[in-house]
């Protein structure tokens, strides 16, 4: 409690609130631009925070994530083009509403649902992370190695359409994490004589390349479709079509509550991601509705269901990161770089070593939810104009920011080469359906996995039968095996069926996988 009070003082005493508001606004704008999701927003903005106070910097980045999760509804509703796949169910009913001239009503409902989902999920993060972290401290290297293997298999299987491709992406991520000086022997690995690689490949240019630059290339290839959708936008002249009525709020309250619970639960499980949450919530709301056939024609409940779950995933996906040090989503993986840059190592020990900073972070997260509501209400009409800006004017600015962000990491053009190399890899991963989410998470947890693997080999005396003395590790390895078998069966069943068309109603140009 004492730390919480100090955290409140830190947030309200300095410029932190201002930076959180900047982050939320920036995130909202980035989210509204098709193709620029929260992960891209956070990756590109990390260099902007180098010179801020740690709590301000982390609050701003989390503000960007929260703002863009809410902002992605703007392009989904107005253009039928979700900024991210997780907003695709929002477009199912949001876009028909916009075509009826009720775009502002849908945007307002999306904002209310987003803020509620986000706020409740943040509270659950605060309540759950520290108690879970206490148990995590009891985990040894053998158990940690097994948990990391299980997480990667789980994420690899769920963040794409193929477990095989997910595992290949994870292996690549871990492989690239081995570049640089090996920590035990100090032998240089795969540096090809470049001194710049001896410290390893930096996450910031890699993430910027894989997420932002690669996505801009995909968007550049689809410019005409987006421009056509933008030209068709019109608003109704009836004021009732631009506001949310009491009756609509009453009808949507249970839908938002359900979406929040689903989104929070999905966020806690590593790898499921916001798309699973929003689709599950939308599907469940439609299933329990008395008029399921009306969904897809402009039901405001559909917007509320999808957005509440989508936004609830963001804070709860930080629970495995805070409690175990394991990033459960791509946003958490990128945030690790920012946390470490600002002196906070995510994991169970952070609650003991830097409780004041954690408290400040929690307070700024709660403030970000409130700021999101205020900024959304005040600036929604303005932000919704952003979708009218042609993408050909947006892409050059994003590319310039990407270069500056990568350059700032090391002050060398070499970082831009790294960014471009991984941009090509990210483009191919998107188009060939290899999960770049799993790649990035594999890269982030690679050093920890290698260290715990080496320690485990020594602890087990290079004898697999000694694993019997570690039942928790055995349990996780067995769970990973069961997951592989079940995924294999599901893939075999799917290969005999027509491919699923869950997004057939919309036009998702965002390439971020869950």
């Amino acid at each position: 409690m004492e730390h919480l009070i100090l955290g409140v003082g830190d947030v309200f005493g300095g410029t932190t609130l201002l930076w959180v508001a900047v982050g939320v606004s920036l995130g909202y704008v980035l989210g509204a631009i098709p193709g620029l999701g929260k992960a891209i927003g956070v990756a590109v903005s990390i260099p902007l925070t180098f010179y801020l106070e740690p709590v301000s910097a982390l609050g701003m980045l989390i503000g960007i994530a929260k703002g863009s999760a809410a902002g992605s509804a703007v392009s989904a509703i107005l253009l039928n083009t979700p900024g991210e796949p997780s907003s695709a169910p929002t477009a199912f009913d949001g876009y028909p509403l916009a075509r009826q001239g009720k775009g502002q009503k849908a945007l307002k409902m999306a904002l209310f649902a987003s803020v509620t989902g986000d706020f409740v999920s943040t509270i659950i993060l605060i309540l759950l992370a520290a108690p879970l972290a206490r148990y995590a401290l009891l985990i040894g290297p053998v158990e940690l190695c097994a948990i990391l293997v299980f997480s990667l298999v789980f994420i690899g299987g769920l963040s794409g359409n193929s477990l095989t491709k997910g595992l290949i992406a994870a292996c690549f991520g871990i492989f690239f994490a081995t570049v640089g000086l090996e920590t035990e022997t100090f032998v240089a690995r795969l540096t090809f004589g470049y001194l710049e690689l001896e410290d390893g490949i930096s996450l910031v240019p890699m993430a910027i390349g894989m997420l932002a630059v690669a996505e801009m290339v995909v968007q550049a290839g689809n410019l005409n479709t987006l421009d056509r959708e933008t030209a068709n936008l019109r608003d109704s002249s009836d004021p009732r079509d631009r506001t949310v009525t009491q009756d609509e709020l009453r009808r949507c309250a249970p839908v938002i509550a359900r979406g929040t619970v689903i989104g929070t639960a999905v966020g806690i499980l590593p790898g499921l991601g916001a798309s699973v949450g929003s689709f599950l919530s939308y599907g469940e709301t439609r299933r329990v509705s008395a008029t399921p056939a009306k969904y897809g024609t402009g039901m405001i409940e559909g917007v509320a269901a999808a957005e509440s779950a989508d936004n609830a995933v963001v804070p709860s996906s930080l629970i495995p990161l805070f409690a175990l040090g394991i990033p459960g989503s791509v946003i958490a993986a990128i945030l690790i770089a920012a946390f470490i840059l600002h002196g906070l190592t995510p994991g169970p020990l952070m609650f003991q070593q830097q409780p004041r900073m954690v408290a400040g972070l929690y307070v700024s997260m709660l403030c970000a939810s409130a700021i999101l509501l205020v900024i959304g209400l005040l600036g929604q009409r303005l932000f919704s104009q952003i979708v009218h800006v042609p993408l050909r004017l947006v892409i050059p600015g994003v590319l310039l920011f990407c270069c500056v962000g990568s350059f700032m990491e090391t002050g060398s053009v070499f970082s831009i080469y790294i960014m471009l190399g991984f941009a090509l890899l990210g483009f191919l991963a998107r188009k060939l359906d290899f999960s770049f989410v799993t790649f990035l998470i594999g890269f982030v947890i690679g050093p920890k996995l290698e260290l715990s693997f080496r320690q485990s080999l020594q602890l087990l005396n290079h004898d697999a039968s000694n694993l019997l003395a570690h039942p928790i590790a055995l349990l996780f390895l067995f769970a990973a095996l069961v997951f592989v078998v079940l995924s294999g069966r599901a893939t075999a069943r799917r290969s005999g069926q027509t491919p699923p068309t869950t997004q057939e109603n919309c036009n998702p140009k965002g390439g971020n996988q869950p």
């Binding site: 492989f175 050909r392 290969s495």
Partner: protein
């Protein structure tokens, strides 16, 4: 997608064999005796990629009754491939100009060339956007954040 899977699977098989047979042995020393080899994890990952690529190749090459045009279609459209080539060209030119003339020319050329390859032809818009972006960056880093980026 089946054909693309088969091609990417074959590429990954060849890549991992080359890494295992040539690159890793030459780029990573065996390390001191009595300690675990620094090659251990990179080798394990490449073996993993090799083993996982094989089913991709096999499934991609196997013809099924419902094998149709969708299976042989390229997952990358012509427009996307053109965009990739154009933006790569923009980066190549901008980096060359940066090395020759410095950051201002490099950054300006990145914005101007990107606008041109994306179809913007209005001179006023091109000049105005370039000036706004560069001035905005300067103001953000040098005035708001109070730091030099060069």
């Amino acid at each position: 997608m089946k054909r693309a899977n088969a091609i990417s699977g074959i590429f990954l098989c060849v890549f991992s064999i080359v890494m295992l047979g040539m690159v890793i042995p030459t780029q990573i020393n065996a390390g001191p005796s009595g300690m675990m080899s620094p090659r251990l994890v990179p080798n394990m990952m490449m073996i993993g990629i090799l083993l996982l690529s094989l089913p991709l190749v096999i499934r991609g090459l196997r013809k099924t009754p419902e094998y149709d045009a969708q299976d042989t279609a390229s997952p990358i459209s012509r427009a996307e491939m053109l965009a990739l080539l154009r933006i790569s060209g923009v980066f190549a030119a901008s980096i060359a100009l940066y090395e020759l003339f410095g950051a201002l020319v490099g950054a300006s050329s990145l914005v101007i060339l990107a606008l041109l390859v994306l179809g913007e032809r209005r001179p006023l818009v091109i000049v105005a956007l370039t000036v706004v972006l560069l001035t905005g960056l300067w103001a953000l880093f040098y005035k708001v954040l109070g730091t030099a980026i060069l």
